[in-house]
Amino acid sequence: VQFNTLRLNGFKSFSGRTEIDIGEGLTGIVGPNGCGKSNLVEALRWVMGESSSRRMRGGSTMEDVIFNGTSSRSSRNFAEVSLVLNNRGRSAPAAFNTSDEIEVIRRIERDKGSVYKINSNTVRARDVQMLFADIVVGANSPALVSQGRVTQMILAKPTERRKILEESA
């Protein structure tokens, strides 16, 4: 399975529709401080089923990921992220392995909570988390290194480190 395209709409500082194609090899993301680079990474972790709003740098509610306005634009009522996976290699888990592409969508509306979809079928958060666990990456995978967390593993306590190791085993 390959990660092809990430689409954001109303997610954090990306108030409008935004699309990024993830090509082969090394894709660099640059830009001034505070422009939204780390928000892109969080969009990826969010659509993969991240359940803790703290890990999204937010407060107590996951609604903090919805675009909350600027001095010239009003806030939005929903945020949506979709991730398109290329499955031509037919390596996805059995339940989703018949199609060339797998599109995972997560959408949150104020006061209504999150809804997940895989190829237009509404599914539970657990289904999305299982899909990604089976292709060896999850919202908390050690392969997704958030800003300032690169030394988290070596500074953690020994049992905490073993747990991170288990996640990648």
């Binding site: 090509g23 090394l26 894709t27 993301i29 001034p32 680079k37 392969a143 800003q147 085993a169």
Partner: protein, 164 residues
């Protein structure tokens, strides 16, 4: 699960040792499961000794040395169980230019070995220059992020994006 963990541990430890030597140009590093015979209950201890230095606790390593040691461990886990995507958010911030180059060499090497796609966020000009493609994120309108694709040939436009 117990067997899986101890097999993974052996592989990760082997990769960690060779990647550490690769990044530091020598020295020695290894992992150890401590406190219990059952891997699912044990703690993981990390030993790292940069070349020419005596073995000390991890807290005495410098900021850059801790980062390099962490990168060696992250890639060791990654090579043991490759995932389709890897995201690195400003891991080059504490590194000097020579180590930025070494980390980029490692990135290119790991990326050419498999099918993994990498997203690398950076402010460092040496890292930007090693990417296959670049996206810029700007806030032309304050508070609103927009994504633009940067044409690699126009080297200058990196810095325009950074300064915007």
């Amino acid at each position: 699960a117990r067997l899986l963990l101890s097999q993974a541990f052996e592989k990760i430890n082997a990769y960690f040792q060779s990647l550490f030597i690769n990044l530091f140009g020598g020295g020695e590093a290894y992992l150890k499961l401590i406190d219990s015979d059952d891997p699912l209950d044990a703690g993981l201890e990390i030993f790292a000794q940069p070349p020419g230095k005596s073995l000390q606790s991890l807290s005495l390593l410098s900021g850059g040395e801790q980062t390099l040691t962490s990168i060696a461990l992250i890639f060791a886990m990654f090579l043991t169980n490759p995932s389709p995507i890897c995201v690195l958010d400003e891991i080059d911030a504490p590194l000097d230019d020579a180590n930025v180059d070494r980390v980029c060499d490692l990135l290119e090497d790991v990326s050419s070995r498999g099918n993994t796609r990498f997203l690398v966020i950076t402010h460092h000009r040496l890292t930007m220059a090693r990417m296959d493609r670049l996206y810029g994120v700007t806030m032309a309108e304050r508070g609103i992020s927009q994504l633009v694709s940067v044409d690699l040939d126009k080297q200058m436009s990196f810095f325009d994006i950074e300064e915007a």
